[in-house]
């Protein structure tokens, strides 16, 4: 077989495998994306047959006058920082503990992972019930003021509730990423360091953590993009309330499109949001890739 024909065959195989997916992605993601570029330049209520082209008006309004978009973006940022830090720290701690061998390891791993499999919508409704009904029953029983606070009805507490539920839901998934990362670190390195006299604290921060960087990159990338895109939990748990205090950017866009009937403007908003997410995740991946080390 000549090399030329072999290369053609490889190309053929490559195309057969890639083409179906490529076509699907084109149809379901790329073409709608390009269409939305057009809609973002229009004034359209989402169903009318009259679409008015208004140029960059939408973007002008978004940058110059839209305080709601700004407020919801700041909420998204605050929410993201809180959940990213909390999820990753807790997930890492759990992973370190659960890679030690003791009896309950596998049961505990499963227990922490279960919430991740349950639909976010259901989790939102369950916790809504817990915060409202279960807490008031607990208050009648224990009389602890903690249970009488309005966890979903006060601006600050609602923020904590949303962050808490998100962390509780997703921590198991990130724990799994860290567990696989920890298990791939060769034991000899830690043993050697122990013989050289490094204590547990030093071994974790100077050996385990640097070697865990690939997992950290992945986990952070996923948690950043997931928390910036948060929607379901807020939609079911607080509906962006009380007032608009827990309205995330995605919910703001949803409201703009389906409540205010401003499809064109909502498209413009979502495009800007895509650009922002893209920038943030790009910087993050670049930064952490440069920190990865080989064993």
């Amino acid at each position: 077989m000549t090399t030329a024909s072999k290369r053609w065959r490889e190309l053929g195989v490559f195309i057969t495998f890639v083409a179906p997916v490529l076509v699907l992605i084109l149809l379901s993601a790329e073409i709608p994306f390009i269409m939305s570029l057009y809609y973002s330049l229009t004034k359209w209520n989402g169903i009318s047959k009259h679409i008015t082209f208004i140029g960059l008006q939408n973007f002008k309004e978004l940058f110059l006058t839209d305080t709601d978009a700004l407020a919801s973006f700041f909420f998204t940022l605050r929410y993201s920082v809180a959940t990213i830090v909390a999820t990753n720290v807790i997930a890492l701690l759990l992973a370190v503990v659960l890679t030690k061998t003791f009896k309950l390891t596998s049961i505990l791993r499963a227990a922490f992972f279960v919430p991740y499999i349950v639909s976010l919508v259901i989790i939102g409704f369950i916790w809504k019930f817990v915060f409202s009904n279960a807490f008031s029953s607990l208050y009648e029983w224990t009389h602890w003021p903690l249970f009488q606070w309005s966890w979903l009805g006060t601006a600050d507490l609602a923020f904590i509730s949303v962050v808490f539920v998100s962390v509780w839901q997703s921590v198991g998934f990130y724990m799994m990423i860290y567990i696989t990362g920890l298990q791939s670190i060769p034991g000899e390195l830690n043993e050697a360091a122990a013989i050289d006299g490094a204590n547990g604290f030093n071994r974790f921060f100077r050996i385990t953590l640097p070697l865990l960087m690939p997992s950290l990159t992945v986990a952070l990338f996923l948690s950043i993009s997931n928390s910036l895109k948060v929607f379901d939990i807020i939609f079911t748990l607080t509906f962006g309330g009380p007032g608009k205090t827990t309205t995330s950017s995605t919910m703001d866009i949803y409201n703009e499109a389906f409540v205010n009937n401003r499809f064109g403007y909502a498209t413009a908003k979502s495009l800007m949001f895509v650009v922002l997410i893209l920038l943030i995740t790009l910087i993050q991946v670049k930064f952490f890739k440069s920190k990865e080390v080989e064993a």
């Binding site: 057969t16 495998f17 179906p20 076509v23 699907l24 169903i47 007032g243 389906f258 009937n261």
Partner: protein
């Protein structure tokens, strides 16, 4: 190796052909609807044949589920060739409806609100002005579905809301006269509290409950509503130029002061069940809540308070309007059958009894009987002898109902004060009015 490649190729081809088939069918779907649009104008001339027809009916209001299915069955019995396929959705109704419309699958009949929705859905609503059966609909119900002189919808139900009160608890507290002003309401609340009864349960987790607090206050301003709101929309006036608007705050403060619990965590169901169990004496809700209340407490004795709107007792009234509207898809290929169905719904014996007897709410049909429910009877009393107001929220720009409700939630939660709330109510209105033009 060769076989694998072949396998992969076939798999790829199958996938590809599936995709192209998908495109093909969706394309042909589009041309189908396009053809229908052309054919629709000629459709009414064709005779209604006996060939099987399925009418798609899409609506919200899940409390009507059983009634709708019963009605569809009845119609199928009388017209064996017609099947009505009822789909009911609550949480995501409007996004779903819009998706259906954009996909070219406009349901034959779909539900929307009145007033502003006339404009939003005008491209898809059949003009019912000259349909003979519309003569049987009460004129007061037609205002909300008329746009530029054209009747673009079929108002189904007359609804009313105000403060609902528990007659027994009011008697226990010795309240002889129904409160009509804020100070009388406060006095009544004090009397209830003195008896150990919680006066209010506030379902302020629902933004629409707070919207229903703004609307009566604004309606009490009276005058030519259409003109007032046209001026506000045009930017000639601000919402806060309606001097009654500030009456909103003493009313909300009052309901908060004389209640227990967590107002922003109390949703419709919780407030209804508190009220039905007698845990609170007053509930700000409408005629649609009676069914839910009676499911918990079948024997409760309830009625409407005239909605206090300030210190002038003569202005207290009941909010009555028809905001549940069916629209006929004007491009429907079953247009003729659809109109026949609405004729049946308006003029047949079953149709006239459907809303009052099956849905148990007030019908908009002129000669329909009144439903056997206390709030409906109260409503008919108010319509005859009392003061009623239309739901002026119909003049709000798109999206203002929810936005306004959420702005007030922030006031209830103490995030914003009175002045800031008024400023937000004004600026949000200006923004949405501008967007709607």
């Amino acid at each position: 190796m060769k076989r694998h490649v072949l396998g992969a190729t076939t798999a790829g081809l199958v996938a590809l052909s599936l995709i192209t088939a998908g495109c093909g069918s969706s394309d042909s779907g589009k041309t189908d609807t396009a053809n229908n649009a052309g054919a629709a104008s000629s459709a009414p001339q064709e005779s209604a044949s006996a060939k099987p027809v399925t009418l798609e009916l899409f609506q919200y209001s899940p409390e009507m589920t059983d009634a709708m299915h019963q009605m569809a069955e009845q119609y199928h019995k009388e017209n064996p060739n017609v099947t009505i396929n009822v789909t009911i959705n609550q949480d995501n109704y409007y996004p779903l409806l819009k998706t259906k419309i954009n996909a070219g699958e406009v349901p034959d009949i779909f539900m929307t609100g009145a007033y502003n929705d006339n404009k939003t859905y005008q491209d898809y609503s059949y003009d019912l002005t000259n349909e003979p059966f519309m003569a049987n609909i009460a004129d007061s119900a037609k205002t909300g579905v008329t746009l530029d002189g054209k009747v673009l919808g079929y108002p189904l139900i007359l609804q009313s809301y105000s403060f609902i009160y528990n007659k027994k608890l009011f008697a226990d507290a010795g309240i002889k006269e129904l409160p009509k002003t804020f100070s009388e309401l406060e006095a009544a609340a004090k009397q209830l509290q003195a008896k150990g009864i919680t006066p209010f349960t506030n379902g302020y987790k629902e933004w629409w409950v707070l919207e229903q607090t703004i609307t009566p206050i604004l309606a009490s301003a009276g005058g030519d509503y259409a003109q007032t709101y046209a001026d506000i929309n045009a930017g000639k006036k601000k919402l806060s130029d309606i001097k009654e608007l500030v009456n909103l705050f003493p009313l909300i403060d009052l309901t908060l002061k004389y209640s227990s619990g967590k107002p922003l965590e109390t949703d419709f169901n919780t407030s209804v069940s508190d009220f039905a169990q007698g845990k609170a004496a007053i509930l700000h809700q409408g005629s649609w809540a009676e069914d839910a209340i009676r499911k918990i407490n079948p024997t409760i004795d309830i009625g409407f308070l005239p909605h206090p709107v300030g210190e002038d007792g003569s202005k207290a009234g009941l909010m009555v309007d028809s905001n549940i509207v069916y629209r006929v898809n004007k491009d429907s290929k079953n247009l003729k059958e659809t109109l026949k169905f609405f004729n049946w719904l308006t003029t047949s014996e079953y149709g006239k009894n459907f809303v009052p007897k099956v849905v148990k709410q007030i019908s908009t049909i002129k000669d329909a009987p009144f439903p056997d429910s206390q709030l409906a009877k109260d409503t008919s009393e108010y319509l005859k002898n009392g003061k009623t107001y239309p739901w002026v929220k119909g003049y709000y720009p798109d999206g203002y109902e929810q936005q306004g409700g959420q702005i007030l939630q922030q006031y209830v939660g103490g995030v914003t004060d009175k002045d800031k709330t008024v400023a937000q109510l004004d600026s949000t209105w200006a923004k949405l009015a501008k967007a709607a033009q």
